[in-house]
Symmetry: C2
Subunit: 136 residues, 2 copies
């Protein structure tokens, strides 16, 4: 319906193909993550590349990167740095973060497993025990 040449897409078409709301795409643009090819009468005109860039962003988000991380991935390296090297560095750092999260979650799991067997009648009893750092 809308696009005449399949290679020039409006934000609506891009949003459909990428599975995002137009507002999200504009937001990413404000952060410098995706830029339209040009503007026509004020409207953003994209190429297929934008859809691919958005797929990259989706992948990265899904892998645990923040939008700020993604900005660094795209713009935070010397221009001649290969994609592979960028991913390697960023992913290695993120994996360390995940390990920390896992340790945090394991600690929570321990606390929860212990407290699940609590025999206190009142929470005040419980609280008193915690203040002396027993119980839990």
């Amino acid at each position: 319906m809308s696009q005449h040449e399949a290679s020039e897409l409006g934000i609506g078409e891009v949003s459909r193909r990428a599975g995002l709301r137009p507002s999200a795409i504009r937001y990413y643009e404000a952060l410098g993550l995706v830029m339209p090819l040009t503007r026509s009468g004020g409207r953003r005109v994209y190429s297929q590349d934008a859809v691919e860039r958005l797929a990259l962003i989706a992948f990265a988000k899904n892998a645990g990167f923040s939008l700020d991380d993604i900005r660094r991935l795209l713009d935070g390296f010397p221009e001649d740095t290969s994609a592979g090297a960028r991913w390697n560095e960023m992913a290695t750092a993120k994996l360390a973060d995940l390990d920390a999260m896992t340790r945090r979650i394991d600690a929570m799991r321990d606390s929860l497993t212990r407290i699940r067997g609590c025999r206190c009648i009142t929470l005040d009893q419980c609280a008193k025990a915690m203040a002396k750092s027993r119980c839990g």
Copy 2:
């Protein structure tokens, strides 16, 4: 210096004992999590119980509960529900949440481990591959 009877504490003393800022204690009060015993000339007066209640809150936060969860722990059960039963129910639910988080983190780890070995020269190549849901 400040408190005459050791059993009546000002917010400053409570904050020191609990390791929290007074503003956090006021915030918890606004949420209904800790109440002062009374007020004296507008000032909050607490008993030692408040310090213990704050230790309970700290424990629960540390175990992964939100302040809203903690409110439910304190007020969201029939009055005659034992502390043990409350913890059991809440902790069981939270453990399920943690399992979900762990699965999420494991999925991220997989993505990161795969992408770490990426051989693409440019991110655009990479993006193209992702759009076809290969690579990664």
